[in-house]
Amino acid sequence: MKKTTLSFLALPITFLLLVPSVSMAEGNPAKGQEKAVTCEACHGKDGRSIDPNYPNLGGQYYSYLVKALSDYRSGNRSNAIMASFAANLSNQDIEDLAAWYASQQGLKDLSVK
């Protein structure tokens, strides 16, 4: 009886253990800060950009930042400035940078009242 319940639980439990490790493959914010020296020139030290033509990045979602940088790198999203910066980034670089800007404060959802 005990053996059967254990065998029933074994598979779901291993999956549950695997899920966070897959979705949490996040970058390192500290390393991202070191790599963000170039980004700061436009997007600001605290994720508030220095010019209203450039987006604020502080507090933006991690996965969206990864998507945006990957799109700039692949050319899926075209911008003359960002294309040249993103071209040299590795996957690890993108994840670290995204983690750094996601860890900052600033942007809000539209649900705020």
Binding site: Q60, Y64, L107
Partner: protein, 177 residues
């Protein structure tokens, strides 16, 4: 002489590198915006003078000749000033109108942690984003320069004023937070 000028060039280059990248007081765009601003102010001042003269001369007949002279001299500026004052009105988004027009947006952008599907990533936060960036992003979606099926569809139905209003609303919503 030639050597001297070369070394000076190298020096300026070196100091340019030493400066931190955040130390950029003048951006080319900021400079342009300031110039545009002063040009508009010049025209609105002209228009105010003209309207003032018209009002005063309607009370005091003796000033009418002065007004007519002003008109003769600067008549070529009147249509330009009227056009510019019109564009000044149009260039501003109305956050209150944006709150109504942008209600659809909150269906995705107003739900914390809401996911885009295929590929999966979180729908970006827009509250407190910069006005100019939001306007340019909506233009890019509307014109198909930036590709996202839902956003292309949504933006295709927006007028110029809708884009400005919605952008103003997104800026406004995060103020005082």
């Amino acid at each position: 002489m030639n050597h001297g000028s070369l070394s000076l060039k190298n020096k300026t280059r070196a100091t340019g590198l030493v400066q931190s990248p955040t130390f950029w007081p003048e951006l080319p765009t900021a400079h342009l915006q300031a110039e545009k601003q002063s040009f508009m102010e010049y025209h609105t001042i002209f228009l105010r003078c003209y309207v003032g003269l018209l009002a005063v001369s309607s009370y005091n007949r003796r000033l009418l000749s002065f007004t007519r002279e002003f008109e003769m001299r600067f008549i070529f500026l009147i249509p330009a000033a009227l056009l510019l004052s019109g564009s000044l009105w149009a260039a501003e988004g109305n956050a209150e109108a944006g709150a109504i027009k942008g209600y659809t947006c909150t269906g995705c952008h107003g739900i914390p942690g809401y996911n885009n599907i295929y590929p999966t990533y979180k729908v970006p936060k827009l509250g407190g984003q910069n006005y100019e960036y939001l306007v340019s992003a909506l233009h890019a979606y509307r014109d198909g320069e930036r590709k996202h099926a839902t956003m292309n569809n949504q933006a295709s139905s927006l007028s110029e004023q809708d884009i400005l209003d919605i952008s103003a609303y997104f800026v406004e919503i995060a103020k005082g937070q």
